[in-house]
Assembly symmetry: C2
Homo-oligomer: 281 residues x 2
Amino acid sequence: VKIGIVGLGLMGGSIAKSLNQNHFIIAYDVDRDAIDYALSQKIIQAGDTNLENFFHGTKVIYLCLYPQSILQFIQSYQNQMDPGTIVIEISGVKTKIINAVTPFLNNNIDMVFTHPIAGREKVGVKYSKDSIFQNANYVIVPTDKNKAESLSLVENLAREMKFKNITQLTKEQHDDFISYTSQLTHVLSLALVNSEDTNLDTKRFIGDSYRDLTRISMINEPLWSELFLENKEYLIEKIERLEKSLSEYKSAINNNDIEKLKELMLEAKRKRMKIEGDDPL
Amino acid sequence: VKIGIVGLGLMGGSIAKSLNQNHFIIAYDVDRDAIDYALSQKIIQAGDTNLENFFHGTKVIYLCLYPQSILQFIQSYQNQMDPGTIVIEISGVKTKIINAVTPFLNNNIDMVFTHPIAGREKVGVKYSKDSIFQNANYVIVPTDKNKAESLSLVENLAREMKFKNITQLTKEQHDDFISYTSQLTHVLSLALVNSEDTNLDTKRFIGDSYRDLTRISMINEPLWSELFLENKEYLIEKIERLEKSLSEYKSAINNNDIEKLKELMLEAKRKRMKIEGDDPL
């Protein structure tokens, strides 16, 4: 199958790497260096900074764009796509994007909204890595317009990329959940680093825990500022729930209430163990 | 050198493993299984659930006990130690322990207060692993009573264990700093998990970021509840500073202030990059 990648950054490059053995990959990016690099590394079979040869014969297009750019791309180019093209969107928010884009979609194409829950604290095709998808989670948010065969094609491609759990959610379920597991997690990591205030050389006094919790603060800020705002209502609710949990620790500490502390810790440990599965309590 | 380990858990076992090539290791633990396991795995050369043969000829003792048990052990047993014995304490808080223990110390022994900033989300000697010390940070908090040669012996042992940065701090500097890099980090990870509230199967909707941020919530709650309370003043101050950072994100999100969000993110990214060193911005 001829697969198109729009936006050849970290995600577009990683998708190309994970599918280029069995498919013909063509990429489009405004950055000539990204295209040249990917061609020279045989990450893609074809690519350009214009869309001249991009759409013809392309059955599947991965839209690897920032949320704010998706609607414009669809409006500008959907008429140039082959009839029956499946357009796969991969951003980290769903409700706002689906609501914004679906009213403008041609019946010509089928747009599938998905979220590969994977990434790296790096920007650009040079850091792309197909192993980020291995055993990772993938969420598909079907709309009324999606054809069953489009959804199963998207699912099959996700399996080819080595995703482990592929789940269908409503857009509200997705955004609610992801505001907790992804956006809140990033807010926390960032706030932890922002709250540092010292003259000492931090790196001499940290362990793996601090290193792990703060890694994602090395963030792609143009992307994540959009993601935070696009999922604002759910995210604010999650920040407030987190503030409540924090204040429970604070008052237990203030009251020297060691039993309450242990109880909160045990609750967290039990919840977290469920994710690990094989860990003994 | 004959080195004694008091408390053969994760830390005691890891210390034994990292020193047993060049030294004779004897361990004491109330748990017979821990001793038997360590003997059978040749982690220690000798060990028992009583202290009968423990002190004689032992030049260095690592005290791998919970903070609350340290004073009692010293009071009960320091008279049985050989003159000149160096006792190395390794817990995660310093001011309260140093203040509690030093008034009772014999001149007979030299007690050195240290913090190997390393660990695992596991409990017990079976999970001990000497590689946790590799390239990790070690803090020594000297007291007025410490002899220079004791401090350099502790430092040499830390190098033998493969610690990378070994730094001397005052007890206040240590507790201030560690309340941020270690205790606050654990509070955050725990609170993140506590604030989860869903009927969905969390593990299908997480990525590496959530997994990394919540790993340390699989906590040893008897130990960490003590650590939180022993370092209460500094920790509360850090939680409050974190709450302030969180509220900055919250209001930027509420105000759709994308420029403020990016500014906060860039500040965090720059701070975090300093730790990484080799990462490009």
